[in-house]
């Protein structure tokens, strides 16, 4: 798998597509740094739209692009493993805040996927889409792995997750006012748990303490959801 991905990367089309993806990502990062206050400036949105436009205009099939850039896709596996590092670092802090915080994160982690799934269920959407929606509040690599495992669609999971994050980050301030939540720690926990990394990026503007709580929510909810979803489904469909 790794060797295959590297050999694709070293072919001519590999170099062109990998190179242009990284170039657009670099531009996307610069835009994001300049307009960091706006969640819509997430570098993935700019990169995906730009690369998608080029792929479309050059009449390249999406399969060819995916094959050429398969090295990036392959790295998703190692990056998922690497998430152990932030989770490990958050563990001590979780211990410090104790049970109330853990329960808060679990509440958000259960409420968000159930509401999202219920909306699709009411509209009688395809089952694969309903299952994908269950993973929408956790960080993208974990959501893709977990959704693939339970019969969802990883590509769709990535899009749902990013959109959720952007919506959550944009709406956060008004939502907290509407629900009359003034405790900044509680705001941080909710942002990280429901709107993962994009929400956490937003929380950085609300202060260090809020960002720390958001990171905790992101890590704890991510790992628990990614473990619990596949286990539940392995019992449901033996």
């Amino acid at each position: 798998m790794m060797i295959e991905a590297i050999s694709h990367a070293l072919s001519l089309s590999g170099l062109i597509w990998l190179g242009s993806t990284l170039l657009f990502y670099w531009v996307g990062l610069r835009i994001n740094r300049k307009y960091y206050r706006y969640p819509i400036s997430h570098p993935l949105i700019f990169t995906a739209v730009s690369v998608g436009t080029i792929v479309f205009l050059s009449n390249t099939s999406i399969e060819i692009y995916q094959q050429s850039a398969s090295f990036l896709h392959w790295l998703l596996g190692p990056v998922t493993v690497a998430l152990a590092l932030p989770i490990y670092r958050q563990w001590q802090r979780l211990h410090h805040y104790g049970l109330p915080l853990l329960l808060s994160i679990m509440a958000g982690g259960v409420v968000a996927p159930i509401f999202a799934w219920a909306a699709l269920w009411c509209f009688d959407s395809p089952i694969s889409m309903q299952l994908t929606m269950l993973a929408k509040s956790i960080t993208t690599p974990l959501a893709m792995e977990a959704s693939a495992q339970i019969g969802g669609i990883p590509a769709l999971a990535a899009v749902f997750v990013i959109t959720t994050g952007v919506v959550g980050a944009i709406a956060a301030t008004s939502v907290f006012r509407l629900f009359d939540v003034t405790d900044t720690q509680a705001q941080g926990v909710a942002l990280g748990t429901v709107a993962h990394a994009v929400g956490t990026a937003k929380s950085l503007q609300m202060g260090d303490e809020v960002a720390a709580m958001a990171t905790l929510g992101l890590c704890v909810n991510g790992i628990f959801t990614a473990i619990i979803l596949p286990i539940i489904f392995s019992f449901l469909s033996p």
Partner: protein, 128 residues
């Protein structure tokens, strides 16, 4: 410089070994977890058992983690394959993502506020 490089290589090898062992374990033992997630749990266990491995893992993992957005590009472009399905369910997806995310965000924050307030008031008794 050389030491940094060595750390990076050691950290990268550790992450890769966890990834492949995790993948192998998930497949051969038939764990319900995806391989990469099993790999994550193995690495997490290593970090808890040997905290001295942290700087090595950090050296290799941190740059990858801070730029992980770019890794989703090939997958995200794959949604064009599901375009008709998405268009048919546009309303449902819109409601599921926009409305329920806002409601969940509000409810979670409210629950967290209540739970954390209980902690604030009982602070001092069990402050570790």
């Amino acid at each position: 410089m050389i030491a940094g490089m060595q750390r990076w290589i050691f950290g990268a090898i550790l992450v890769l070994v966890c990834f492949y062992v995790g993948t192998w374990l998930s497949l051969s033992v038939g764990l319900p977890l995806p391989g990469a997630l099993t790999g994550l749990l193995i690495l997490l266990a290593i970090l808890f058992i040997a905290p001295s491995a942290e700087p090595y893992v950090a050296r290799a993992a941190s740059p990858l983690l801070s730029h992980m957005s770019v890794l989703f590009v090939p997958a995200v472009l794959g949604v064009t394959t599901y375009w008709t399905e998405i268009a048919q369910n546009g309303w449902a997806i819109g409601i599921a993502i926009i409305i329920t995310t806002c409601i969940s965000l509000g409810i979670s924050a409210k629950i967290a506020e209540k739970l954390l307030a209980a902690r604030h008031s009982s602070q001092g008794q069990n402050d570790d």
